[in-house]
Symmetry: C2
Subunit: 303 residues, 2 copies
């Protein structure tokens, strides 16, 4: 099995390592050359100088896996690759693309007889060790072709990867997965904040999260990771209370609106991230001024 | 180790089984005698006809574990037991009592020199097999005394149970645990509803939840159980869409208000349960009438 992997960032580099260690030949390409050289030296990656060079080193049908930031970087790379590929070649987008984009790209590539597969990829920095959870959309023929790759990336040959439906459904499933992740994270964070807030009991959050890992209903991988960092430091005073959000949380909430199906907790978990990003400051200023206006309540003025 | 277990309902009966199978002698008492007789025959429970009979069969200091519905049943039993117990005896409330009640009861029992321990107990119907997660509040001396019981109930001697703080903190920790559980459940249910709602992709929710169990960020015990029942039936057409709530979800939200700490997702998860209980019907009738009043929008009249 030989393939090209384009995009050797945090996710892509570890995926290259896992593939190489599972006997897949990987031609690597990345904008910056440093990681290419490192993986070549340490893991036996086949380096390439540019996309053309990467493609030329592949047997037919060529298999090209993209692991790039969603939006323009992925779109531009697909456009760059189209003239380099032949009918029957397979392109996989393993990044976090919007599923509407994946559907559009699948149709576009089909006009060139290039097979397109969208793979939602979960596992973060733990994927190298534990394997990645792969939610794969596309034609059965294309997915059969790349099966050895999926089996190498997954936690085991027979689990943690699946062909879930047509083109777009892989990224759709991954989008919903991330939406759920937002909600579960927020639920854990709110509950733990209430434990912390009960000063009278002086609770040890490291002890309690570790305790909950055994026999409780909230057992989860997120709890495992939380117990691990709380064991080292539970004051977290050096961490800014700002939580980033990426596309998939927003898209999940838009999807709920498109479907007309309520997802209030997933929506609110997203809005709480917005709130952490200092975006409600103007709204809170307005509220402080309104309370002042009708009730004469004091307003805190900035010094 | 010998103790009395009062309340052999769904939880209590399985706890008796686990204790007996781990070599603890258990005197059992229950309002209805059927389960007492069954456990006596099948598991070697020591039966008792009434609370006095149960207490009389215990060595000193007596250890009495209550596993009763919270509120009046627990309160009444404690009042009934006080005159039967002596100084130094230990009473454990393993049910889902409000932690304010547990604090009050601890102080009340202290006046009789009876030691009080509150144990938040998680594990549901799986506790018998997997062990219970026990969040224990009380004095160190009392908890040392009952340690063999906690070790028998927990998933293992060295994990899944902990002395988390003073009297009340066990039930407080369990309350927050259940609050988090509401949020995690709601997050999963909303996301899976959006997967189901995307009819175009015709997704197999049994396949996807099973897939997510391996290497994904949403790995959790709740997901394991969900994958299991979705594998058998994912239409769920025979299940009424009504979700009960118990005290702890409500108390968690009240606690957030008392502390002035935001817990919007846990609150909304609770309100979504209320909404499932048909309580918003009147509110929705009002909204339909308002839309009709200002916009002339049609109202669906009942046949």
């Amino acid at each position: 099995m030989k393939m090209a992997l384009i995009g050797l960032g945090k996710m892509g580099a570890n995926m290259a390592r896992r593939l190489l260690r599972h006997g897949v030949e990987v031609v690597g390409h990345n904008r910056s050359q440093e990681i290419v050289q490192q993986l070549t030296k340490e893991e036996g990656l086949i380096p390439s100088e540019n996309t053309l060079h990467a493609i030329q080193q592949l047997p037919s049908p060529r298999i090209v896996w993209l692991m790039l930031p969603c939006g323009a970087p992925t779109e531009n790379m697909i456009q760059e690759l189209i003239p380099l590929l032949d009918a029957g070649d397979i392109m996989i987008d393993g990044g976090n693309s919007n599923y509407h984009d994946s559907q559009r790209r699948g149709a576009m590539l089909a006009k060139h007889d290039i097979q397109y597969v969208d793979s939602g990829t979960s596992g973060g920095i733990w994927g190298l060790k534990n394997g990645y959870c792969l939610m794969v959309g596309g034609e059965k023929s294309a997915i059969s072709e790349i099966e050895p790759i999926l089996k190498a990336l997954a936690p085991a040959e027979d689990r943690g990867w699946a062909h879930v439906g047509p083109i777009g459904s892989g990224h759709f499933t991954k989008m919903i997965h991330n939406g759920i992740e937002y909600g579960m994270m927020q639920a854990l964070s709110e509950g733990l904040s209430l434990l912390k807030g009960k000063e009278e009991f002086n609770l040890d959050l490291g002890q309690i999260t570790e305790l909950w890992r055994h026999g409780s209903v909230v057992q989860s991988w997120l709890l495992d990771l939380t117990a691990e960092f709380l064991d080292k430091d539970q004051k977290l005073e050096n961490i800014e209370p700002v939580v980033a959000d990426s596309g998939e949380g927003r898209w999940t909430v838009s999807e709920a609106i498109d479907q007309g199906i309520p997802a209030p907790v997933l929506s609110l978990a997203l809005h709480m991230r917005f709130a952490s990003q200092d975006t409600p400051a103007y709204g809170n200023r307005l509220l402080a001024m309104m309370r002042n206006a009708f009730g004469g309540h004091a307003v805190q003025e900035k010094e």
